[in-house]
């Protein structure tokens, strides 16, 4: 039996803190080193700004952004589900846009800004979308939740920016509706089928934003 004060969450938080320190010792001149990578020297320096913090990594070019976040930066909030872009559990926000972090290489994002679930809010200071997911019970097992929340935050921004969707009746009149939210969230699968509650949470946050 684990002791009462040692939870899975505190373990994970501990390992994240250790990881945060390690990769910060990084060489400058990533651009110069990329040239040598062209010759096939193996590891490539990558600089990212993850949740507002600059990190420097040396990566095998095969490393996906997802694996860089989880295995190198130990930000395990972002989840690996299908690892082939079908489930959305790995959704993060890069340069303001939601993407599947499993289907992109970390080296392709050198110099870019990444926001993960850890960067949206913390247990002490929840992002409004995180709070709404709790209020509306927008999950059961929780595995898809970080991806759902990153996607949900970006979806409301996409609607506000007037980006149309498949269900937008008039391409020039983009507005918020349940069918818009459902369509735009179709890249995030929830095996527990918390979908109605996720839509309720998103509507809640959208209402707050409007007011």
């Amino acid at each position: 039996m684990p002791s009462d004060h040692l939870t899975r969450r505190s373990l994970l938080q501990g390992s994240a803190a250790i990881a945060a320190a390690a990769p910060a010792l990084a060489p400058a001149g990533a651009a110069a080193a990329r040239q040598t990578a062209k010759e096939g020297t193996g590891m490539i320096p990558v600089e990212l700004t993850v949740n507002g913090r600059e990190v420097h990594l040396q990566l095998d070019p095969r490393t996906t952004l997802l694996d860089a976040l989880r295995e190198h930066l130990h930000l395990t909030g972002t989840k690996k589900g299908c690892d082939q872009g079908q489930c959305g559990a790995c959704t993060v926000i890069v340069e303001g846009r939601r993407i599947n972090s499993c289907l992109t290489l970390a080296v392709m994002h050198d110099g870019e800004k990444v926001t993960t679930i850890e960067g949206l809010g913390t247990p002490d200071k929840l992002h409004p979308m995180q709070r709404a997911f709790i209020t509306h019970d927008g999950y059961q097992c929780g595995y898809c939740t970080p991806g759902q929340i990153c996607s949900a935050v970006a979806v409301l921004e996409e609607i506000a920016a007037g980006i149309p969707s498949h269900v937008t009746p008039d391409l020039d009149k983009v507005s918020l509706s349940d069918s818009e939210l459902r369509e735009r969230m179709s890249g995030n699968i929830c095996r527990c089928a918390a979908y109605p509650n996720i839509i309720a949470a998103m509507n809640d946050v959208a209402g707050e934003t409007k007011a």
Partner: protein
């Protein structure tokens, strides 16, 4: 994934030259299809040339009154572009019917044209596939073929072309602008860009070694009522069983292109010519030469019914 080296291209000419001179090199842009295939070792490039920083991400009017779409314009941005929404609505609709929001944020215009089939036998490396391994045979013929093509197929391959965007591009008579390894630019009509499988299903496009797509150019707008109807197993985020792109012209002249049924985005002059005779006639003309299996024979009926639905939608609007 198999190991590979990586470089960032700094100019189109250098990218094309590097791709032609490096054995096993591939361009990577959005990566949403290539990386998926690399994880499964269906694609095993030894070198990736990242073309994301070539500045090919603009949408500009052409002197002829058309639109030049940079190869790297993301699907989201192309679908949301104000001119595309206004003048080429069928293209916006086709893009928005494809993939998920996350994928559209990453996937590019050129990459969409180059995406590979979703034939399950292409994806299953335990099965023969002439497209994946030339000469190994076709697991799909005689296999489970519900999703596969019925037009343009051959004895070597019945894989379907998966793109929605390319169907709209075909409808709009787009041209694909490229630069070759020799630095020479050329324009390929979209009708000639994708190849039919024949005996060489692994040859999918007219691109030569090292040749890179720089933009896709649309001719000037043709007006009319633009519609795109996609029929699939789920309401969202699934590949088409059948899709129909159509522009209904005010003068009765209309045009049609089809997805989900062809080895390439499908369009025939006979179908366009039959427009004034209605859905049944258009379907018959479009499906001329169709070769079905008992699994995908339903697609013929589905094409006719999808067309009928579009005719009703058009009539309701006018």
């Amino acid at each position: 994934m198999k190991p590979f080296t990586y470089s960032r291209a700094t100019s189109v000419a250098d990218a094309a030259k590097a791709a032609a001179s490096t054995q096993g090199a591939r361009f990577i842009a959005g990566g949403t299809n290539l990386l998926d295939l690399m994880k499964l070792q269906i694609e095993t490039p030894t070198h990736l040339i990242d073309v994301n920083h070539l500045g090919l991400d603009r949408i500009e009017p052409t002197p002829e009154g058309g639109l030049r779409i940079g190869a790297l314009v993301r699907n989201t941005d192309l679908a949301a572009d104000k001119v595309v929404r206004r003048d080429y609505g069928v293209l916006s609709r086709a893009l928005l019917a494809g993939a998920s929001g996350q994928l559209r944020n990453k996937a590019t215009t050129a990459g969409n044209l180059l995406q590979r089939t979703r034939c399950p036998y292409f994806y299953d490396t335990n099965m023969p596939c002439n497209k994946r391994k030339p000469g190994s045979g076709c697991g799909a013929i005689g296999g489970i073929s519900r999703s596969l093509a019925i037009l343009g197929v051959s004895d070597a391959c019945i894989a379907q072309h998966p793109s929605d965007m390319a169907v709209a591009m075909r409808l709009l008579d787009a041209q694909v602008d490229t630069v070759g390894a020799d630095g020479v630019a050329r324009a390929i009509p979209i009708a000639d860009f994708h190849m039919l499988p024949g005996d060489t299903p692994h040859v999918e496009t007219a691109l030569k070694s090292g040749e890179i797509i720089t933009s896709v150019t649309l001719p000037k707008p043709i007006g009319g009522t633009h519609v795109y109807r996609k029929v699939r197993d789920r309401a969202s985020y699934a590949f088409a069983l059948v899709s129909v792109a159509a522009v209904f012209g005010k003068d009765g002249g209309s045009r049609f292109a089809f997805g989900g049924i062809g080895a390439k985005p499908w369009r025939t002059p006979a179908a366009d010519a039959a427009a004034s005779s209605g859905a049944k006639a258009v379907a018959e003309a479009a499906l001329s030469g169709a070769r079905t299996t008992h699994h995908n024979d339903f697609k013929k009926t589905l094409v006719e019914r999808t067309l009928a639905s579009l005719y009703r939608q058009k009539e309701a609007r006018s």
